[in-house]
Symmetry: C2
Subunit: 296 residues, 2 copies
DNA sequence: TAAAAATACTCCATAGGTATTTTAT
DNA sequence: ATAAAATACCTATGGAGTATTTTTA
């Protein structure tokens, strides 16, 4: 059985006339007769009761007409859908975010995708750690990752810079520098510092300590927390101060003030994708770039 | 696009290897390469990322794999179903019954069909009138009809006799002959008679009056009702007596006694079907014959 | 007898085969 | 170096066309 048999059968079922159906199919009448004969032979069932004066479907014919219509419609839909998939407007894309991109980039992306790529199902996962994100992209369990690029370059994946943003200080509301225009990082030398985890689990830890060294001090006490939200809450609780990328200010917490640094230090944000990610991932990548364009 | 493209694509999607997939399809490898090229050209989308070492589906390819599998499974199911339809084990059949077959043949048929033709949806309609039944079968709004054959022969439809059954008298419980072994019809000459409608709407009316004439009398008062159930209830209410085919005894009503006639008069029951009714109708017709075989 | 489906036959388009080349690892 | 996909080319099947016959209402 081939689709041409089904298409011909449907036409014949509708026209109930070999000549007209053949014309509609751009076929000669005998070709249609033969196709029907083949089809009936293959399914082993008479589909059309026919004489020179009357063409009528059998019960089996009526069933096949319905099913054939369904199948042909399915295939038409499929063809359309394939084009959508190829254009990246239909599909499923998973994006992972490091903690400091979770409260700013993630929601912006979600809103943009909802508007511009309604056919793409997004799977967004926030508060992840950079090394795991890279591995996930490598093994295709994630399509895209928004990370803070670390020291060592990544050459088996595509990495595109998204933005460079300044650090801001996170201070408890009662802190003397809270509410100021800017704070000199050196003024915080004696405070306890709350940071992301050390080791190779987060790029932030090293960046923050490097900034302190640049300001001429090494923090006296360091408290490590793994979630950015927890970090901010710790500051609110008076456990210390912190340095975070400016976009973390999207995370508003009572009892906490964000204050720019007098001499700004910066961190990068980058998008990582697999070299042969699908078109939907490419579309979403474009939206990630759009979501990070205006540095807030 | 033809089914062979889909079949080949599915095999390739599963094997992820042109050589093996081609072998499974009993094709040479270049034929498969060509089919894929045609398919991709037609849908305008790359379906497989391939190098000499790696064959991997694109997003679009994965979508098509799913859809193609669905379509092919649908068609397989359809082929099976067509055979069932052709054998008369799958389908829909409507059967109409005259009033006096409604309470005996109809329920027997329903039970038999449930057992032996579970795939056939039966549409059973009782208490109809013979002329309407015949027209309904002619115009195919009914597949089968169980009727009391009238005087004039029907030659454009298939009529097969089902059974011949004796009339029985329907008497009120208090009637002197109620409970007897048999009653002589002439003994009821003075009673009011309850019958089915006169005119050409029911064959019963004429049959009953003919039986009375054969017994040597003409009923003094005749009351016409259109439903058999109503007729019996009228007798129970003391409105008169009636003559009905023996199978109506299936209709048990308090206050009514059925009594055989001393000199039996008979009526026929017949099955009417369209000459080119489908196989399901033929199967059901066989069950109707089975349901009427043992004269009760 | 006239309209329409079936049959007879012919032809050529094309699906698929064989041989070979290209490519990626 | 080698396995595997792509390309080139050829062959033959069979799908569709034309002409004709058969059927039935």
């Amino acid at each position: 059985m081939e689709l041409r048999h089904l298409r011909s059968f449907v036409a014949l079922a509708e026209e109930k006339h070999f000549g007209r159906a053949a014309a509609r199919l751009h076929l000669a009448q005998p070709a249609l007769s033969q196709q029907l004969r083949q089809l009936e032979r293959e399914v082993g069932v008479r589909l059309v009761d026919r004489s020179t004066r009357r063409v009528e479907l059998t019960d089996a014919g009526r069933l096949l007409q319905q099913r054939a219509l369904d199948v042909l419609a399915d295939l038409d839909r499929t063809t359309d859908d394939l084009a959508e998939v190829a254009a990246g407007r239909l599909g499923r894309v998973s994006v992972g975010f490091v903690g400091t991109a979770t409260y700013d980039v993630l929601p912006r992306l979600a809103r943009l995708a909802r508007e511009r790529l309604p056919g793409v199902r997004l799977d967004l996962r926030g508060e992840l750690l950079a090394p795991g994100l890279l591995d996930a992209v490598r093994e295709r369990s994630l399509d895209l990752a928004v990370v803070r690029p670390g020291a060592e370059p990544v050459d088996d994946l595509e990495v595109t810079p998204l933005r460079t943003e300044p650090f801001v200080a996170v201070l408890p509301a009662g802190h003397p520098s809270a509410g100021r225009e800017a704070v000199d990082l050196a003024a915080l030398a004696e405070e306890s510092l709350v940071t992301h985890p050390s080791g190779h689990r987060s790029a932030m830890h090293e960046r923050v300590l490097a900034a302190c060294r640049a300001a001429g001090f090494s923090p006296r006490e360091v408290l490590e927390v793994s979630e950015t939200a927890t970090l901010v809450v710790f500051v609110a609780a008076g456990m210390g101060v912190a340095l975070v990328p400016a976009s973390v200010q999207a995370l508003r917490v009572d009892g906490v003030a964000y204050v720019p640094l007098a001499r700004p230090e910066t961190v990068e944000l980058a998008l990582v994708s697999h070299p042969d990610a699908g078109p939907a991932a490419a579309q979403v990548a474009a939206l990630v770039r759009a979501a990070t364009e205006p540095v807030p």
